[in-house]
Amino acid sequence: MARDSAIPPESFEEILAWLNADRDVAAVMYVQLRHDLAKLFMWGRCGDPEGLTDEAFDRVAKKIHEVRPTYEGDPRLYFRAVANNLIKENHKKVKTHVPLEDVDLPDRQTTEIDEEIAADMEECLQLCLQKLGANKRELILAYYAKEKQAKIDHRNELAQKFGITVETLRVRVFRIRESLAECIERCLKRKAQGK
């Protein structure tokens, strides 16, 4: 679970100033850095990526006055180093991993999403697909038309049709899918809060 970070305002301002001289740019970088650090914790098999991200920012905030004047290079790499230490500490604390049989897997393997969750998901999906706009919706639809081996040829053909490389197509679909997933997530959160 994410916890409330207690970074003093002056340290927070200094973190922003360290990330970029332009405060607006720095604010965007800050949000992205939070997201990216959470990813590092997830890839590092930590159970609470959001909480550890808060912890990483707290640690940097405590040291920023002494580190910033002498640190050379991209400050985000300093955050990476702090995150790396936290991952190691986390692994020491949690000596054993959760056994696979205890992991609550998504529905394909073990669990059945209960009907209410499934209904919410479907409702949010439809709502967000509407918001997405016809062009993007059609692209997603075409991109995911096939599965397994068949999808490789299909996506090559699709890229050819659009006159773009498969790489460009992948990135384009990724961006649309990201915004769709974020919309669904926000919608599910709103629904959960309303219950």
């Binding site: 850095l33 990216d36 650090l37 990813k39 590092l40 997830m42 890839w43 098999r45 159970g47 609470d48 990526p49 959001e50 991209d74 985000r76 790499l77 955050f79 990476r80 790396n84 991993h97 959760v98 696979l100 992991v103 609550d104 897997l105 998504p106 529905d107 394909r108 999403i113 969750i117 998901m121 479907e122 999906l125 697909l129 062009n135 993007k136 059609e138 692209l139 997603i140 639809l141 075409a142 995911y144 038309a145 599965e147 397994k148 699709l158 049709k161 659009f162 006159g163 773009i164 992948r170 990135v171 384009r172 990724f174 899918r177 990201e178 769709l180 997933a181 669904i184 997530e185 599910l188």
Partner: protein, 274 residues
């Protein structure tokens, strides 16, 4: 970004925790500091999730995957969302597909009605033509969709802040001002990569955003680009050179006020020669 050092295979290994510490450090650093590398990692991650949902991972990879992507309730929710999107797409595609296999149903109907061959042949030909037309129409629609997408992406404020390597810049005055000036004529061969049109706005009324419609004056449907923001030189509009072909082009630029209401429109013209 050094493309050759960042292959899909390597990124998959990285995401499954199968690379050494030094490589992991390098990739994490790139992920945090290089936006292009970051996006590539996330694209490969999305495909890894897709492979998991399609049960395409080896047992070992599946275990590694679940240790990273299936532990917390948030992660499980992400997987459910991915699955919901995929399932929707497969469902919709399956629903749409019967249109293209309508012939067999029709054949059965004909058989039931016992139509004679001289009726069947023209009907079959008509249906084949209809299907070909539908395919051509769908193809052109998808191409248009892709171009519209690309134009929208090229003209976001963030994209316009970047300066691509291959870009030709052109300044266009509106028809009313140009008046006596000669119309701008460009050589197709001179344009590669992107073309950036700077549209001068000479009206007294200024707007927070503008809408541009560009089309070739030979009956082509226009492409509309929304939310263009003015800067000190005018309103910039970027186009991929490859979508431009010989002919006269018209750009209609309309000011949009803070309430989203369309205001004054200016017309800009240029001609492309082979």
């Amino acid at each position: 970004m050094k493309e050759e050092l960042l292959t899909d295979a390597l990124l998959r290994e990285f995401l499954l925790g199968k690379v050494g510490d030094a490589e992991r450090e390098r990739l994490e650093g790139l992920f945090l500091t290089d936006s292009e590398a970051r996006e590539r990692v996330l694209v490969v991650e999305q495909e890894l999730i897709e492979d998991y949902l399609e049960d395409n991972l080896t047992t070992e990879d599946r275990e590694n995957f679940l240790l990273r992507y299936g532990q917390t309730s948030e992660q499980q929710q992400q997987l459910r969302i991915s699955k919901a999107i995929k399932d929707w797409a497969l469902r919709e595609n399956a629903r749409i597909q019967p249109v293209s296999v309508g012939l067999s149903g029709w054949s059965r109907l004909l058989a039931t009605m016992r139509l004679r061959p001289f009726f069947v042949i023209p009907i079959a030909v008509t249906m084949v033509i209809a299907i070909v037309c539908l395919a051509v129409w769908l193809n052109s629609r998808m191409t248009r969709t892709a171009i519209a997408e690309e134009l929208a992406q090229l003209n976001t404020p963030a994209s316009l802040r970047e300066t691509p390597e291959k870009m030709s810049g052109l300044q266009l005055s509106p028809g009313a001002v140009r008046g006596m000036e000669k119309e701008l004529v460009l050589k197709r061969a001179d344009l590669t990569g992107l073309v950036e049109l700077t549209l001068l706005w000479v009206q007294k009324e200024h707007y927070p955003t503008y809408r541009a419609e560009i089309r070739r004056l030979t009956g082509d449907e226009p492409f509309t680009i929304l939310n263009l923001q003015p800067d000190q030189d005018g309103i910039r509009l970027r186009l991929p050179a490859r979508i431009l072909s010989r002919g006269q082009y018209q750009v209609l630029l309309t000011g949009i006020d803070a309430n989203g209401v369309a205001g004054t429109t200016e017309e800009y013209l240029f001609t492309l020669e082979s």
